[in-house]
Structures are given as structure tokens and as C-alpha cells.
């Protein structure tokens, strides 16, 4: 195409664009709707992912249980417990496992700074932080390998525990007495959103090195073992192999669903994400339909323009315009009409998303706002929007343009 023609079309369009004002508004509105709906949809998905990863990153939790099937002459109803050594037992035998840690917990009296509270206290190892998203606040740290190996009397506490015991003071390096044994606080959990939990949110928990914990809780068995697979796709396989290996060790039927139990967060996350993806697509479709109303307006306008300009088209054909030129002009004008409304819709949606994201989220009473106040304006949304827009521009422009280009020069010239 000759580059000067679009410029000429633009100058022709400028003279008539006032007529497109209402349609421009419809396009603005449609663009705003589709972009905001998609941004909120994707934001909710993203926040679900964040909230879910508040519990942990691709985790399988293994618990003991009670047999429900007779096995090798043993009766059903036998309790099955897990022990600290089972962690290495499983890790050595299942190469697909990346990390595995034990966790025990009990409800204990905790005091510091003259205040006394009751909280769940956990014993675990250093790799727990990587698996359960335990990010320390600045100035502190989680348990490390030496803490665990030497059974040091140190504690990592949730931010609510810190607030309950120390108020606004920095708890790092301060003593905390747990079940009459003194510990030193080495880290405070950074705020996070967490939608899945056992024993309440991590904000309320206290973590100790496993062997230090053993000294205040004399049960030998562990409450659960956390397993992180090398690849998320191997979670089902690992589950089956854990059941088989533990069944061989503790003598229960590997098909016994109650001898051990699993919380496979990978499978949960998959389902959750599918639901949110569904919502995302649904919102996108609603947005696209809103934009469609604007597009119908443009088609209507361009039909009117084609009729109104019959004579002009006749003149252009008479002085040598090819059909292509007429079609191009209609398409470009359609594009200009779209460009104005959609541009401002885009800018407005972008700013609304930006402003909403500035709103704070209350991490202590994690609720609906955590999902709603974090809309996302991603490249993916932009691409989806552009595809929908391109289809609508094409459909709005093609019919009026073809109609205009099919005109007969003589009849068009006679048209008044």
C-alpha cells in the first residue's frame, strides 16, 4: 500500500469523526470491561496460587493411621505411626523424592517478656522452610542445618506470635520459654497469605529444631512427613511407592487406604487452578460480549457511512480509485474508530488496575480482598485482547467495505 494513502484516509476521517463519538464511548466501555474482567480473573487465579503456595511448594504430606484390612494374619484396626527414621528410609528408597522432612507438634505454654500464651509448637528440620514457604522477616533466619544437628535451643516464630509476645519490639535474640525450657528467637515469619493449613495459619506457629523439640515432647512418633517430589508430575507415583514401602515396613496391605493417609497438595492445586482458569475464561467471554456491542455499533456506523458516501465513492472510482483503495479506506476508518475508543479504554483499565493494586491486603484476617485487590494486567491478557479486537475490527469493517467497493461508478455518481 502506498504510505500516503493512509494519511489521506486519516485526514478524511478526522473531518467526520464527531459522528463516531457515541460509538467511541461504546468501544471505550467494552475495552474497559474486557480488560478489567480478564485482569480480575487472572488476578484471582494468581492470588489463589500465591495463597496456596502459602502452605507450601508442591507438597505431599504423609500421616499415620489405622489399618482397615487384615494383612498376613494381622487383624484390622492396628494403629500405624510414623517415626523420624522413616524420613531417611523413604528418601533412600524413592529417587523421585527431592526433599523430605519430619514434623511433630503439640500445644504448649509459651512465655516471654512477662506474657504467657498457648500455641502449637513444632519440631522439624531446616529444609522445612523451603517446602513450607517459611520466609524470615529481615534480620532473622529460619532453622539451619547446624541448629538441627546440634539440637540448639532456638525458635522461629510466626508474626502473630511475635506480636502477641513482644508487641512492636524486635523479638530476634530474645528468650522465649516453651514448656519451662528457654529458647532464643532467631527469626520471625514474614507476612504471607495462606489459604490452606493444618493447626491454623503459620502466623500462629512456633518452630524448633527437631531434636530440641524432642526434649520437651517425649513421644517418639512424628505427626507427619512432608515430601517434595523432584517433579510435580511424579506425585501420584511417589504416593504409591510410599504406601508400598511403609506397608512392607509396618506390615499393612499397600491397598489399605486407612493405614496411612496423604494430603497431596499438588492434586488440590491442580483442581483449584482449573476452577479459577474456568472463571477467568468465563469473565473474558463476558468482556468480549461487551466489546461486541461496540463493534456492532461500528458496523452500523460504517454501513451508514457507506451509504452517505455513495457519491464520494463514485467520484473516487471515476478518477481512478481501485476497489482495493475503497476497501482499504473503509478498513482504516473502522480501525481509526476502534483505535480511539479502545486506546482510552486501555489506558483507563491500566490505571484502574494499577490503583487497585495499591490497596493494602490485611494478612491477619485473610479474606476476599486478597483475591479481589490484586488484578493482573499481563502480556497474556493483552494478547488475548488484541486477538479479540482484531477479529471484531475485521468483522465490523469487512461487510460495509465490500458493499462500498462493489458500487458501480455511474450509479454512485448519480446518487444525491
Amino acid at each position: 500500500m502506498n504510505p500516503t494513502l493512509p494519511l489521506f484516509f486519516w485526514s478524511e476521517y478526522r473531518k467526520r469523526r464527531k459522528k463516531a463519538a457515541l460509538i467511541t464511548f461504546a468501544l471505550f466501555w467494552g475495552t474497559l470491561s474486557i480488560l478489567l474482567l480478564m485482569a480480575f480473573g487472572q488476578g484471582m487465579s494468581a492470588q489463589f496460587r500465591v495463597a496456596f503456595s502459602g502452605l507450601g511448594d508442591t507438597l505431599i504430606m504423609v500421616y499415620g493411621g489405622q489399618t482397615s484390612l487384615e494383612f498376613e494374619g494381622l487383624p484390622k484396626g492396628r494403629p500405624i505411626s510414623l517415626y523420624p527414621e522413616d524420613v531417611d528410609f523413604l528418601k533412600e528408597r524413592i529417587p523421585e523424592i527431592l526433599r523430605a522432612v519430619p514434623e511433630s507438634y503439640t500445644f504448649l505454654q509459651v512465655s516471654a517478656n512477662g506474657r504467657e500464651i498457648n500455641r502449637t509448637v513444632h519440631g522439624t528440620t531446616d529444609e522445612f522452610s523451603l517446602m513450607r514457604t517459611q520466609v524470615p522477616r529481615m534480620g532473622g533466619r529460619f532453622l539451619n542445618a547446624a541448629d538441627v544437628a546440634e539440637g540448639r535451643k532456638v525458635a522461629f516464630i510466626g508474626w502473630k506470635v511475635a506480636a502477641d509476645l513482644f508487641g512492636a519490639e524486635d523479638p530476634i535474640g530474645k528468650p522465649v520459654v516453651i514448656n519451662r525450657v528457654p529458647f532464643t528467637v532467631i527469626g520471625v515469619l514474614q507476612k504471607k497469605i495462606q489459604d490452606s493449613m493444618y493447626n491454623g495459619p503459620d502466623a500462629d506457629q512456633i518452630y524448633l529444631p527437631f531434636y530440641a523439640y524432642s526434649q520437651i515432647d517425649n513421644r517418639r512418633r512424628v505427626n507427619q512427613i512432608h515430601i517434595q517430589p523432584r517433579e510435580a508430575g511424579q506425585s501420584k507415583l511417589i504416593e504409591a511407592r510410599v504406601r508400598t514401602l511403609l506397608g512392607r515396613k509396618y506390615r499393612f496391605d499397600p491397598d489399605d487406604r486407612y493405614a496411612t493417609s496423604f494430603w497431596n497438595t499438588i492434586e488440590d492445586a491442580k483442581q483449584g487452578l482449573a476452577i479459577f482458569k474456568g472463571i477467568e475464561i468465563f469473565l473474558g467471554i463476558i468482556g468480549a460480549l461487551t466489546l461486541l456491542i461496540g463493534a456492532v455499533g461500528v458496523t452500523n456506523l460504517m454501513y451508514a457511512v457507506a451509504k452517505e458516501r455513495t457519491k464520494e465513492i463514485g467520484i473516487k472510482l471515476a478518477i481512478g480509485a481501485r476497489r482495493r483503495v475503497i476497501v482499504q479506506q473503509f478498513f482504516l476508518e473502522t480501525l481509526f474508530v476502534f483505535a480511539k475508543g479502545t486506546f482510552w479504554g486501555f489506558v483507563t483499565a491500566f490505571n484502574i488496575v494499577y490503583l487497585i493494586r495499591l490497596a493494602p491486603i490485611n494478612y491477619d484476617s485473610f479474606g476476599i480482598e486478597a483475591y479481589l485487590l490484586r488484578p493482573v494486567f499481563s502480556l497474556q491478557i493483552f494478547a488475548a485482547y488484541m486477538v479479540i479486537l482484531a477479529v471484531l475490527v475485521f468483522l465490523s469493517g469487512i461487510f460495509p467495505a465490500l458493499r462500498a467497493s462493489r458500487s458501480n461508478p455511474i450509479e454512485s455518481l448519480r446518487y444525491e
Binding site: E12, G314, L317, A318, I319, G320, R323, P409, I410
Partner: protein, 220 residues
Amino acid sequence: MIELQGITKVYRTGSQVLEALRSVSLTIARGEFISIMGPSGSGKSTLMNIVGCLDTPTAGEYLLDGVNVAGLTFDQLAAVRNRKIGFVFQNFNLLPYATAWENIELPMLFDGKNGRKRRERVTELLNAVGLYDWRDHRPSELSGGQQQRIALARALANDPPILLADEPTGNLDSRSGEEIMAILTELWRDGRTIVMVTHNDHIAALSERTIRLFDGQVLP
């Protein structure tokens, strides 16, 4: 050279059949200035449309510079109108939204001429018709005579060898009409072929040859 052989044009509207032209044969040499006369409905405009490649005959052969126009596509005909033929209409047919300058520039845009060439040519034409100072005015801000001069300038934009004028003075006062005729005569002297439809004997007298049409036939 324009050669028409047995040109017939039939319009059908429903059951009605109208023979606008009946076997018209006509040869117009390069550089000729001819006028076509005849009463309303005699087929003058239809003949002009066919000569101007705006319309195609129902039967007969039209050779323009030896090329049979019937064999050309819509876009090829558009290219012929763009480069070989300039049109001047009774009602000017300028684009109402465009300025004088833009109207003159348009045929060159369709021909894909570059900006510098277009600027030079539009300036030259505006000066030739004496309306350079009116270049930014829209047709509605110009008098009839001025509009027709702009239309003439537009017809000449791509320097076509043939000018077709359909009652170019029909809507003008006599003074403006004379101005237009003076320009047309000058263009003919420069070597252009001019075919003009007119009702006016005085104006027809300015041409070299007059063809009279009646009921779609050329009178001998």
C-alpha cells in the same frame, strides 16, 4: 485514438428494456476537439460514460489506443481512468470534505505518486487555473466557476491525453463558462484530445467537429 464500432448499450429495469445507444460507430483522432450534442435522453451521457471507461457497452467494440476495453478488469479500467482520461462534470463532483488542494491531489494519490511530485504538480495546476490562494478552501467556500476550475485541475493531475467534459459550463454563469472554455481550448491547442457534451451551440462552435445524437444513434 478512440475507436467505437457498433456500440450498443441496453438498460434493463424489470421488464422494461431501454436502448440508450444503438450501434454507434465513431472515431476520434488524437488531438481532436469534438462536441456531442443532442436532446435529453439521446444517449450523450451514456456515450461519454462508455468513452470514459465508466461503463461497458452491451455490444460492439471500443478500442482505446488499440486496446479493447471490454477485455479489461474493473481495476484495469480504474487505472485507465486514472492515467489516460480526465473527467469534468456538469456538477463538478468535488469531494466536499476535501480542500481544493486535496481534491487536485487525489488522482495522483491513487496513482501512487510521491509527495514531492504531488506538491509540485498541485502547485503548478493551482497557479494555472489562478486559484493558488484558494488552495485551503473547501468546495462549499468556492463559487461555481472556481469549483469547475478546481475540477479541471483535478482532471489534469495525472496529465491525461484525453479530457471528457460533460456539460462543463452547464451550471455556470456565462463569464465563468467563458473562462472554462478558454482553458479547454488552450488544453486542446497543447495537444490534448477533448470530447465535450453540450447543449449550447455557441460552445459547440468552439470545437472542430460536432456529433449529433438522436434516440441513441449518430445523425449523419
